[in-house]
Structure formats: C-alpha cells, structure tokens
C-alpha cells in the first residue's frame, strides 16, 4: 500500500464531566502532529480512554472544548463522519462476517463496489500478512490474529488517524512483545497519526514518538520516551514509568545527605529533598570511601547483568543493575556512585 500521512489532531480545552458529576478529565490542551504516534499512558481511571473517545467522537467534550483535525473543527461531528480508525481492547470484530467482510465493512458502508472492496481488503490483509485467513470466521481466529484483523479493518478505510484503546491488553506477554514491534513498524511505515492508550509502560516506551503520562484526569508529563524515562516530571511519573529509587534527605552546602551518607551535588540548599534515579544510572564500588554506603541484601544474577538490592541504615531499599563481573554477596557494604545527569532531585 502507498504510504500516507494522517491528519494533525489538536485538542483545545477538552474536559469531560459525566452526567453523574464524575470529572473524568480536567480541561486540557494537546496536539498530535501528522504521522506521529502518541501514547496515552496512565493507571486505570486516569482519563486516558475518555480522552481517546473524545478524539474519536464517541464522547463530546464539556462546553468550550474543541477537537480539530488538520485545523478543521470536528467537535460537532459524530464518529461516523470523522473518518478515524479504531481498535478496541475486545477487538469488536463482527461475528456475523468473515475476516474479509470485516475488513471490507468500512468500504461497504461507503458504497465501494463488491469487487473493488474485496480487492482493497485483500491488499490490507496481505500487508498485515493475514491474507490466508480471509475466508475464516472470527471464532476460528486466535487472539493475535484477531488483533491483526482489527487493525486491518481500521486501516482499510484510510483513516485520518488511528485510535487504539489498550489493543494488546488481552494477549499474553510474549505475543504482546512480538506484536508491539510489528505495530510500531507498521505505524512508522504508513506514517499515520496514531493515538495509543495503554497502562503498560514498556509498551509506551517502545511505541511512542511521544508519551503523555496521565493521572487523575490531568496530564502529568508530555515528552519523548527518553525524556519521560530519564527526566520524569515528578515522583508519580518516575514511579509509573520503570523502576525508580528514591533516597530522602537534605541538601546543604552542595552536598546531599541522607541516612546512607553524603555525596557532592550541585544544587541549592533544600531542607527536604528526594533523590530519584534508575537502577542502571548508578554504579556500585567496592571498599567504599566516604560517600553513600549501603548494605547488599540480595543479588539476582541475570546473565548479561545482575540486579542488586541494597538497604540503607534506615531500611530504604535501592535497586541497582550492574555488569555481572563484580562479585557481590549479600551482607557486603557497597559504595553507591550516581552517574552525573542521570538522576533528578525533587
């Protein structure tokens, strides 16, 4: 299929309060560039699905909110007039139609002739490498196959944007990882605008051009996967995306001090400070000089690296991933050295 570019999607002041008074979404602004893959990431109930449904046209934003596709206001348009492709968690494939009929359905309601829509549907099926399944009934498909059919059906109408609502939540971990790569490659090849909702941080980091981390109906952070992972805006983002260590203490005279010791730090004085860093952003040193000293509690050898759990004198646990060449045993005292610029202070 020819590569194509989707529309730029802009949300302006879109909030959502349901009829029963529940506020699902605080008014927010967000834009998705044409061809970009934007991931909405957050725990359940954070409003990410509501946001997706507002873009789709399945929910309308509260008064004042506007949805724009390529600058044109589509707020008043219902979903059937917006030309978006949707992929649902349950796949929502039509059980009374076979695979080809499912994929061709969008073309059929657009009045495309039978021969032409079969040809177009087969083209999409071939692109998704499921052309062999065209005649199958939906009940004869595995979860991964259904997922591909759902994606093919959404793409067949050449939508302005494709919206995916936890599309892999029902699949097992191995298949999820495999399909993640496939979907990522596909979205890039088609350079179609995509909004992808998930609560799985690994999926978000792997798929997104940008990630929007959401919490309780608000945006906690917007950034590239690297930004969100390495420079989380706050403790919530840090804890939700990847493993984060947290040491609490003070900063005075250019040194951070906590129960494990002190280390030099270029920061203004703070009576209460928390040092946040990733397991791979620290190194362990034997025969620790003065500095941060922790006791090894557990060592998990993982082949290419080892995962070491350490404990401060006030029983705070810290996880560090180090190369496997360092021989470490529980009970040892180790020095903790942080890579410059790979931690944040809040």
């Amino acid at each position: 299929m020819k590569p194509r570019t989707g529309a730029a999607v802009t949300l302006a002041g879109c909030g959502k309060t349901f009829a029963d008074g529940t506020r699902a979404l605080a008014p927010l602004d967000l834009s998705v560039a044409a061809g970009e893959t934007l991931v909405l990431l957050g725990p359940s109930g954070c409003g990410k699905t509501t946001l997706l449904r507002i873009i789709a046209g399945l929910e309308s934003p509260d008064a004042g909110g506007r949805v724009l596709f390529d600058g044109a206001d589509v707020t008043a348009l219902p979903i059937e007039k917006r030309n978006v492709g949707m992929v649902f968690q349950s796949y929502a494939l039509f059980p009374n139609m076979n695979v080809r009929e499912n994929v061709a359905y969008g073309l059929r309601v657009r009045g495309v002739g039978k021969a032409e829509r079969s040809r177009l549907a087969d083209e999409v099926l071939e692109m998704m490498r499921i052309d062999a399944l065209a005649e199958r009934r939906i009940t004869q498909l595995s979860g991964g196959q259904r997922q591909r059919v759902a994606l093919a059906r959404a793409l067949a109408v050449r939508p302005k944007a494709i919206l995916l609502d936890e599309p892999m939540a029902a699949l097992d971990a191995a298949l999820r990882e495999h399909l993640r790569g496939e979907i990522d490659a596909l979205l890039r090849r088609l350079s179609i605008t995509a909004v992808y909702v998930t609560h799985d941080q690994a999926e978000a980091l792997a798929l997104g051009d940008r990630i929007v981390v959401m919490r309780e109906g608000e945006i906690a952070q917007v950034g590239t996967p690297r930004e969100v992972y390495e420079r989380p805006a706050d403790a919530f983002v840090a804890s939700f995306v990847g493993t984060t260590n947290r040491l609490e203490g003070t900063v005075r005279g250019g040194r951070f001090a906590c129960a494990a010791g002190t280390m030099a730090l270029d920061a203004p004085d703070m009576p209460k400070a928390a040092l946040l860093f990733r397991p791979e952003a620290a190194r362990l040193v034997l025969d620790p000089p003065a500095g941060l000293v922790l006791k090894v509690e557990q060592v998990q050898f993982q082949g290419a690296r080892q995962k070491v759990t350490l404990c401060t004198p006030d029983s705070v646990r810290v996880v560090v991933e180090t190369p496997p060449d360092l021989e470490i045993a529980p009970g040892m005292l180790m020095g903790l050295a942080l890579d410059p610029n790979r931690f944040s202070l809040v």
Binding site: A56, L58, P78, I79, E80, K81, N83, V84, G85, M86, F88, Q89, S90, A92, L93, F94, P95, N96, Y105, G106, V109, R110, R137, T139, R153, A154, V157
Partner: protein
Amino acid sequence: MRSADRLAVLFLAPLFAFAAAFFVLPLAELVLVAGSGPNGAFEYLAILANPRHVQTLVATLALSAGVSVATLALGTVVALFLARTRFAGRALLVSALTLPLAFPGVVVGFMIILLAGRQGLLGAFTQSLGMDRLVFAYSMAGLFAGYLYFSLPRVLVTLMAAAEKLDPALEEAARSLGASRLAVLRDVTLPGLSPALIASGAIAFATAMGAFGTAFTLATRIDVLAMTIYTEFTLNANFATASALSLALGLITWGVLALTRNMAGTGVAAAG
C-alpha cells in the same frame, strides 16, 4: 444384563412412563381416532379438501406469523431502549411490562373487550370525537391485539437479556467505520440479536398457533384452528375431524419450531 445397566433402566423408568402417558399414548390415540371416522385414514385428506378447514388453517398461520413479526418488531425497539437507557422508574416499568405474563388467555380476552368491545374505551373515545364507535374486539384484529399483548412480555424478557449482552464496542466499531445508525442496526445489532429473535419469535408463533382462551372469550366471528377443533369436538362430536385437525396443528407448529431451531443453531454458531 449387568446390575449397573439394570439400575440405569430403573432410573429411566419414570421418564419412559412420562413419555408414554403424555406423549406417545395420546398421540397414538389421536392418530387412531382420526382414522376411525366415516372417511377412515382419508380423514387427513378430507380436512384438506374441506375449504373451511383449509381457510381456517391459512388464517391461523397468517395470524400467528403476523403476531410473531409484530411482537418481534415492538419487542426489539423496547428491549434495546430499556437495555441501554437508565432512568428513574426503569425497574418499575420493566416489571409492569412483564405483568401480562401472569394473565391467562381468558383475562387477556376480557381486556381486549374492555378496550375495543361494544362498550369499550376506544369506542367511547372515537364516538366522543364524532366518529363511529370503533369496535374490533370480536374479530381477527381483536385476536391479533390480544396475542400481541400476550406474547410481548415473553419476547421482551428474552430480547432484553440478549441486548444487554451485546458488546457496545461492536456498534462503536461499526460507527467508526462510517456506518449510519440504520446500517449499524442492520449489520451489527440485529445479527447480534438474531439467536434471541429466532428463539423468542418461535415461542410467540407457537403460542399464537395454539392459544385458545383469548379466542374463546372473544368468540363469535373468529375462525382459528383451536376454535374449529373445539367446535368439531364438543359441539359436533366429530372426533375424527377434531383429531386430524389437532395433529395437523401440532405437526405444523412443530415443523416451524424445528426449522427455526435449526436456523437458531447456525445463528448461535455465527454469533459465538
């Protein structure tokens, strides 16, 4: 015979007795009686040769089919509305709609007379508008209204349960692909409901084919099969004809049910 087999036969004995008492013996008797008249075994052909009987049979079939279709159409609209809308008093309305389940056909007949009889509400209303009194209780139209009232709650309960089980994402998916409301109904909602539509439609059809109480209450100008059988049996003591008609009624209804069950079977498989 091993003792386990003997035990199994012992346990199955009540089933055989039940089947014999309520199924095989009466049917055999009906077959025998039907063949014992002056026409002998040709009684079956005789009822087909009698234009009044054929006319009655066709009228009963048409009435039952009409009632089934009307009940399904009304029931689908109401069931979809009730399954998807939450409002104050919904539970009360649902239970009120299933109230007719408690009424026998005779009571339904009374109600039709109260509504559209000679002294009925509709008549009084149309007269007050300066028109003729509207009276249809004692005709096929009255029977149609009565059967509709009788079947609707049965169909409604089944359809509501099915409508609540439909995945709302299916309709949303169809809409996202550009389908209009009508297309969504035709391509997604009705196919999703089809097993329930076929099953409850078959019940409505069978009920209307065999119903007697309502027809008997409305009486006079109505020729439906159940009434004809009653007349032949009780008033004319024409046992052979009554038996032959009974078997015809049973076979036709059974045939329609078997056919729809077959369709429902494939329907269920397709919707699985």
